[in-house]
């Protein structure tokens, strides 16, 4: 299978370049009979779109999605759902310098050596703009998971540079759209704004951590070897631009844990902890699926950086223009969409193989 498809049964095939005519995706395998309108998808695209505050890129892209197929009279038909977003903010300008040099931290050099040709306008296919189709497909998955299984998926910014924003409560997470950072504690907003204003002024950029959680999970989704639920989540999360690390549950904290700390005990009233992050042996346990991702600092910064050009000569590059000083700020809706796609794919895979399995064992409540 070619590399631009995410998912096995709920398959999302992504296409497009930042400054080409359009970006989009084809979602194949969605069950029939679900109500679906463009507005259901637009909601998540709007959460991700640029230009919503001074802390993100000022590029203006309405990111209006059109459904080209797969619905009829407002209902999914079971056939492929093609989604298209026209690129509108294609500033006509001179890209000559970008065409001839490799921006450090970007994929200019690796694309060039791989393909021998590259659409350098706005980063072409490597642009974070290409996460929009993923978000759009994720909105479909999220709707289906909610309606069919009561699964709720929520992401929030957990750390911005050195500033960690601890989880307080789900009520706060539900407020995450009410601030420009998707943090789950509004008390941190002023501090983050000051931090970002200073950062922007400095011309530098910074990394971030985003947590994403699926609640209301059924037990049994995932396959043991190799397509474990956690493995497929890791694949999809590491496939988001700028992500350099993925954790499930306790993640890297597991390294220093003892078995008595880490192993989640069970009682008839439920699990007593969730270091597993809701997945054991690659299969969901019914507890919340908890994921954390690290996003690197934006590579496009105003400060001078050393690089080379296509002839191999040294150059110095400063990137001016409209860039996010912290790509992690807009990553929460992306992480939600990605998790939704993976969970839905496994929901379908699970019922393909195991529909009708019944154990008689009571399901343990998903506490802690």
């Amino acid at each position: 299978m070619s590399g631009s498809t995410l998912g096995t049964l709920f398959g999302v095939t992504n296409f497009g370049e930042s400054h080409g005519p359009a970006i989009g995706c084809v979602v194949d395998g969605c069950p029939p009979g679900m109500r679906l309108a463009a507005a259901d998808i637009q909601r998540d695209l709007d959460r991700r779109k640029p230009g919503t505050s001074r802390h993100v890129t000022q590029r203006k892209e309405p990111d209006t999605v059109e459904i080209l197929s797969g619905t009829f009279e407002g209902v999914t038909t079971g056939t492929p759902i093609a989604l298209v977003i026209r690129n509108e903010d294609q500033k006509s300008r001179d890209y000559g310098n970008i065409a001839e040099t490799f921006r450090p931290g970007h994929a200019d050099y690796s694309y060039w050596q791989k393909y021998g040709v590259r659409d350098y306008r706005g980063g072409g296919r490597q642009s974070a703009r290409l996460t929009a189709p993923t978000v759009a497909a994720g909105a479909i998955a999220r709707k289906w998971l909610g309606e069919n299984h009561g699964v709720v998926i929520r992401a929030y910014l957990a750390q911005l540079g050195e500033i960690a924003v601890p989880f307080r409560s789900w009520d706060d997470v539900d407020d995450r759209d009410a601030n420009p950072f998707f943090v789950a504690d509004l008390g941190f907003v002023a501090q983050l704004e000051a931090y970002m204003d200073a950062l922007r002024k400095s011309g530098d950029s910074v990394g971030a951590r985003v947590n994403v959680v699926a609640s209301g999970m059924p037990v049994g989704w995932g396959e043991p070897i190799y397509d474990r639920l956690d493995a497929d989540i890791a694949h999809a999360m590491m496939g988001i631009n700028a992500v350099k690390g993925v954790e499930i549950g306790a993640g890297f904290a597991s390294v220093a844990q003892k078995g008595t700390d880490h192993g989640d005990e069970m009682t008839p009233a439920g699990f007593l902890s969730n270091h597993a992050g809701g997945i054991l042996g690659g299969i969901s346990t019914g507890q919340d699926v908890t994921v954390s991702i690290a996003l690197k600092p934006t590579s496009s910064i105003r400060l001078p950086r050393r690089s080379i050009d296509k002839a191999g000569n040294p150059v110095t590059l400063e990137t001016h223009g409209r860039h996010d000083p912290c790509v992690g700020i807009r990553a929460a809706p992306i992480a939600e969409g990605v998790l939704a796609i993976v969970l839905m794919d496994h929901a379908l895979r699970h019922r393909a193989q195991c529909a009708g399995v019944s154990t008689g064992t009571p399901q343990v409540p998903a506490r802690a």
Copy 2:
């Protein structure tokens, strides 16, 4: 595609249970004409196998591999290579208790709820024993990568519980098989032995971190969206038993980095740093591919743990028997094999699409 296959063009289909007749895999897509004997595979299996020191499980499994197909007169023919390892140390004993209860931290509960039936003997399919076929397939990939591209893959234990073992030099890494911990600094061995002896005595277990590095990488392997090289590495690594986190390059350290810290500058003499971990935009840059994984502490411990049985009643479990107090200790050969499989798969995918691409741009030396 069903879930037990790793890789797209170099495809490894895993089968088996810990105490069934055999475990193994079918490796489909290996190029023809490579010399391959069982000994080439056995070498890595022996590095992973149990019972090699007092710090790992004392289970005795020779793990002798047999090649059933795909070679002729000692050379690969291009047809599927089936590898079988007979299970020999199948102690005939009473598993009744394990059959009726769910061990905390294990996948007993999630398997049961998913499938409604499970082979509980020795953990069945969730046993870490099932990494042996992956190691075997990885040995084939490693050989091909070395012979065809000069790629060298090395993993070492970087942290055991609280004890971090810093990287010193590749010479030390090359010594990693000379100690029971696969650490890259023999000076730490005494400290680790004391730590493990105390741990074993306490009945508890502990987590670990393993680093794995591919050197001699070509530029251009990987696909932009979604099957990025780093995404596929994350998938495969998170598919190893007990892994809870995966990092590429700077990993979670990226969160607090500034763009000026993280972005790897280039000069005609090479990259000046490698925070990217050798991958940009999902495509290899030619620098070392650097990966770090977190392994949770072993779930089977001698200390009492609360759980429930199949009727939903509370039980207390203590696990006696032959278990690794730290599964991370034997994980280095597994991580090497997994990385080899992913890299080889992308080597084939790359030449399928891009054979013959030539840019005229000099390849930047892979410094730093």
Copy 3:
């Protein structure tokens, strides 16, 4: 993998419904660096499009293709190529009757029972109109095969109802676009026109046979078990609307052949016959790949037919409107496109695994 993708490395994901906003496909895996413009694709779409003579449907669809991604400055970049064809001739009319009944010979009933919802306008997704994206993708494959391997793919109508049109020469085949039937012998045109005029008058429809041949084939494309080149061709051809049979080489004539008749002998000057149709053991031999397909008569006819409605009551249906009396007439460009896609996919698969294989054995000329 979901079902709307054709090909493994050269993957074509089809979307759309006959009367929705648009139809199209995403072509993933095309090698970079090939010149490609919309005109290269439009040429084959125009050969397939309706309304070109009185013998085919009079529906007016310009079928104008737009390339949304995957090319830059007129050259393929190696990223997905999205192709969109807007539906323009969507007559706004009352579909009430079609919505409530199942047309015999059509997939109305099977779609309805499968999905519980269906876009009945113009046949929705079951419309032969959905072969247009396949033809578009095939045009890309055909161009690549021609430029990189000198492979030429030609299809012609070999039988229309009872009238067989024997092959005369490749020169005649090259004339196939010069007549409304894609026959390879212009001497038959008058007879076919009279036949079709009478058929159209009668209100009935008829089947057809189309032959498709790939010349200039390299030896070695295809895999032994199960993705044989002939198996993948059969899959793709049987996936064309209305196709009920596929033959490779001698096809069903093999049943009554003796081994001395069928087995193609070889001499240093080449093969002496080609009953194999250019494929042995699932792998191309270098001879022409010869395929023949049977297309059933159009199901939509003016004559009364018995059926049932959604309540299970008997109804009588007559289909008026713009339908091809013989869908086989327009099938030649479709068969060419389909064969091109399969061959290109296997060209990439072959070089992924076997690039660099060299035997020293001279290649047998592809005679006969």
Copy 4:
């Protein structure tokens, strides 16, 4: 995906060579909870195995299957089922001549040019012996289809050389194992025996036609574009050694049919005919799925044939040894197994996407 796997959710990965240590397959995706013992599989292997009459090859292979994984206490666990058949009748002899020459009609030449190396002993991987693992996997699928859906799959020899054996009744088909030809009319046995005796004496071989039918089909299995049920059947059937043609329903007879002949009318009492072969728009209608395949004459014959050797020099070959004079005779169990695999795969794919769809429309009885 590499080429040795058949099926998407019910995936069969085939391995082995005729004279290597073993042949077999891994069946991934089988639902848990089905009783399965080696005897369930052995039954179909015994129907296919050589040496059962004088009309087939006298090679002695017990073809005893061993289940290595995926069952526990006689029940499938949902994990991969590995099946192994040891090769026992490996006559140690001089293969020198075969190694250096290309047998006409065999894949010696195409394998050699593709891979540059080939296991020539007994045909290696191109041997029809490699259909045994397919039959074994098919036995699992057939059992599941029967128990879960009441689907019954039956194949019979419909033509042997010039002798057509018309279908009489299902009672006769059920007798097909009671004669060495799998014909469905015992009245033809004497004629066929005489024919085969003469053929064997002549040293020549002959082709055959096999029909295979699935009864008791549910409506709704299959996907519209491209993985139609008929397309996947065509792929799998054309993947059987020696098959040169595949028909669904009326097949090539459709070419000369009128729409009024071909289109199957429906009444509340059921379909009035079945020219569609139980599939419309790629989706099952609930009628019998009817398939017919053409098998070419055996390429290995005693009569002299012209060919070349690896140096390109002309040679004359006569093949002595134990070969089927008509490979079609043993093909009925193979065709049954292949159809079972495809149907089961689509049964799982269907419920993945469409579980729970309910239309309220009464299902039309599958008459005619």
